[in-house]
Subunit: 130 residues, 2 copies
């Protein structure tokens, strides 16, 4: 492969995430771009942007692939170690800026981790008191 090119698909994908910490499923992105970008292209653009360290992904409990913009991520390899949160009510996922120490486990060498939290997001919590 040679030099990466600036394309409409790539720019559109990045614009979609903006400065948000919220994650989106690949499936949702495919729907969102219907007519503008082919399904296959969505997958390929995401792969590229992950390689470039601009987006990162994680697997939800549902087995779906979620993607979010990299803000504090040092590298695309670092993404496992910052926790993600998924709202049980509205389903949105987001990155948590939270440091979790990796524990020592006897007879195991732990190199990386994947933390996923479930509960209610700010918006859903607030909606109860209305």
């Amino acid at each position: 492969m040679g030099v990466k090119r600036k394309t409409k698909s790539v720019e559109l994908m990045l614009e979609t995430f903006g400065q948000s910490k919220n994650a989106l499923t690949v499936v949702d992105l495919v729907k969102r771009f219907e007519g503008k970008m082919n399904k296959t292209t969505v997958y390929r653009v995401l792969e590229r942007l992950e390689d470039e360290g601009k987006l990162h992904s994680f697997t939800g409990k549902d087995g779906l692939k979620w993607v979010a913009k990299c803000h504090g991520c040092i590298s695309s390899n670092h993404t496992d170690d910052h926790p993600h949160f998924q709202c049980n009510d509205c389903g949105i996922s987001q990155c948590l800026s939270l440091d979790i120490s990796i524990p020592k486990v006897a007879n195991h060498k732990i190199e990386s981790a994947n933390f996923l939290f479930f509960g209610q997001c700010e918006q859903c919590l607030n909606s109860y008191s209305e």
Copy 2:
């Protein structure tokens, strides 16, 4: 639904896990039972045994469904909160008997969690020194 029955499929499935803490993918179980139990039955037996609290499952980073025997699990709903480990070398997954405290996150209500650790298991670590 009425009373659960004791069947060969159910017993075979439980025997397969024995007293091991290791987890198996559903895909692997389907292969393992080829000729003895239909793919559909594997899925249904697993669902039943999870409902009964005898097995529990979690989603791996690969998006695959992993299943393990419940030892310390209080209930099938409790399973999210005990961590799992996956070996980067041999690929085996297992349950970790480890308590991880759930952190407080501002403006979020966290109800449950999913912890997945990656690294090298005992067996693979030992094989290096041979």
